[in-house]
Amino acid sequence: MDKQLISRGTSRTPLPRFMLWILPWVAMLGIGLYAIFLCLSKGLNQTNMDNRFSFGLWIYLDLTVIALGAGAFFTGFLLYILKRKELKAVINSAVTIGFICYSGAVAVLAVDVGQPLRAWFTFWHPNVHSMLAEVTFCITCYLIVLIIEYIPVVLKNRRIKNVPSMLVFEFELHKLMVVLAAVGTFLSFFHQGSLGGLYGVLVGRPFAFRPALGIWPTTFFLFIISAAAVGPSFILLTTWLTSKISRKQLVKPEVLQDLGKISGSILIFYIILKTVDTIFWINSVHALGFSPAGFFRIQEFGTWILFLEIVVLGLVPAILLLSNRVRQNTTLLVLSATLACAGIVLNRYVMTIQTLALPTLPFDQFLSYSPSWQEVATFLAVIAYGMLVYSFSFRYLTLFPQEREIQSV
């Protein structure tokens, strides 16, 4: 049965070995589900969040996975709208990763809010001025788009394909892909942006607050561009990692190089804008009477964090990814993509955790926060869920269409 589900022309590890691979992830998911049960039944007193640290690990995780999952919309945009045909080799994997990231983020959000059964209120009487309302609308719609995009990948499974009606359904869905890619791009632009806007509009938090360009704060645009920059890098990393773990060549080397080039080109643009934004921020907080350096003088949040984010994990990977010689060396290419992804992971950390850690009242004390085991277990459950969905998808679905071609050679 197992062998009949695996795509023709590809080989996969024997079933017992595969079971051994998924076992730790199933255990991790189980512990996480127990932690989620505790949070839902007993309340968020199971976490270490409090009235000062009202956002914690989960919101940080959401922001990060959604930025990394941006590869789905951006690859779709490049392939279907800009006709970059070489990206067809990774589009199925990108869609799967996008689906995992977004569904995981929505699941964590459902645990993170105090009254998840009231989540529909946002649709019933939304505050159109709220960035969070915009995030909720766009993420919900985009998750639906991702589900519709993921269905054809599932329907292409060897066994399901044998059912004629499914084949027709898949064919019809496939015709919609251009439209879905366009809708997905539109929705993604808005929610990536509004996630940035989430902090940019906080007038009471001068560290995060940014002036508006039109109706959106500058972080709105920075989040869109940074997500578009690292999305392809994350696809590059996951493809390379899957290739290493499965010990199979899945795509031609040029595909990874292309992804690296796209990532580098957008990242350099992002770093320029981020630098300009930081200079403007320094001037604007100075005008309010704050000392910009003061924000970096408290506890461990020194200016080194800004340097690390903009230079070491921004400018350096951008320059590396733009170099043809670096891209042709797989180790350096993967290292550069890792640095680029780490830069965005750090940016989301700074925007969430540093913003909340800094005192706002002149007589406030700096307060720290470390997540409870329930928060960590819930976080790990999302990782485990992602690993499981991706592992099964890789085994039974065609995530990398070039694989068969490469293996036959």
């Binding site: 309340g43 009235n51 939304p126 001025h129 709220s130 007038v203 309010l288 000392s291 002149p362």
Partner: protein, 256 residues
């Protein structure tokens, strides 16, 4: 004196030089607004205290050491109210009839975005189910709804008292209420009369005149949120502390 303005803007002036830090305002607030006894596991950072008294010290050694108590509740921002614009489902509203920033817990789904947005840490999330010891539920104020676990709450200038005063005035055929008819529990209970309350739009009101006093200051005024809670102090070092921005000069100023 009858308030003649069609749209009052209620505000508060707290004389910190008069405040002894007795905490009576905190107790009166909790009783008036049905704030449940804290869960045994609650901490200073997870408990609910709509009114929180902070201690400020000048940081000098004896005999020059000085301290004041600063009761901080929702500052009722009048402009660019940080919490109103962020709530995704309109669970925070600015009442144009009174200037009061109101929280609507039955609409709130507990995302805590407003808690993050408030620079005064005046918003409280219900981390536990509210539990009153047996018999204590008889002390609940029937004019104020209790809140459930998983929603946010905060000071609303004892809005229940405003509603009751309006209802009484309407029953007597009046369209407006007198200043003395509506005073929040904290102001009423303060034994040193440190808390003044009234209509800021009325130039002749007590609060309106005190808010223009040279001793007056507001917290984080530079953010432009126009808080409707003012503080009074004659002591220069108090003004110096509250004008301090986030900086390394935090040493010596405790938060009691």
């Amino acid at each position: 004196m009858e308030t003649n303005h069609t749209s009052p803007r209620y505000g508060m002036v707290i004389d910190v030089d008069r405040c002894t830090g007795c905490g009576n305002c905190m107790v009166a607030c909790a009783v008036e607004n049905n704030v449940p006894p804290a869960d045994p596991k609650a901490t200073e950072r997870t408990g609910t205290t709509w009114m929180r008294v902070s201690k400020l010290e000048n940081g000098l050694p004896f005999p020059e050491n000085r301290s004041v108590y600063l009761p901080v509740s929702c500052q009722q921002c009048d402009h660019h109210t940080p919490c109103v614009s962020v709530c995704p489902q309109n669970a925070v509203e600015y009442d144009t009839e009174s200037g009061i920033v109101a929280q609507i817990p039955v609409r709130c789904f507990g995302c805590r975005y407003c808690v993050t947005a408030c620079p005064y840490h005046a918003r409280y999330y219900n981390w536990w189910d509210p539990v009153w010891p047996e018999g204590m539920e008889k002390t609940l104020n029937p004019d104020v709804s209790t809140r459930m676990r998983g929603v946010v709450e905060k000071c609303n200038f004892c809005h229940g008292r405003l509603q009751a005063a309006r209802a009484k005035a309407a029953a007597e055929g009046r369209r407006t209420i007198a200043d003395a008819e509506y005073v929040p529990a904290c102001g009423e209970s303060c034994p040193t009369h440190a808390i003044h309350f009234g209509n800021l739009s009325d130039p002749n009101s007590d609060v309106s005149m005190l808010s223009k006093d040279k001793r007056a200051f507001r917290l984080l005024e530079e953010l432009g949120t126009e808080p409707k809670v003012y503080f009074l102090s004659e002591q220069d070092w108090v003004h110096a502390i509250v004008k301090n921005k986030i900086s390394t000069e935090l040493k010596g100023h405790g938060n009691g």
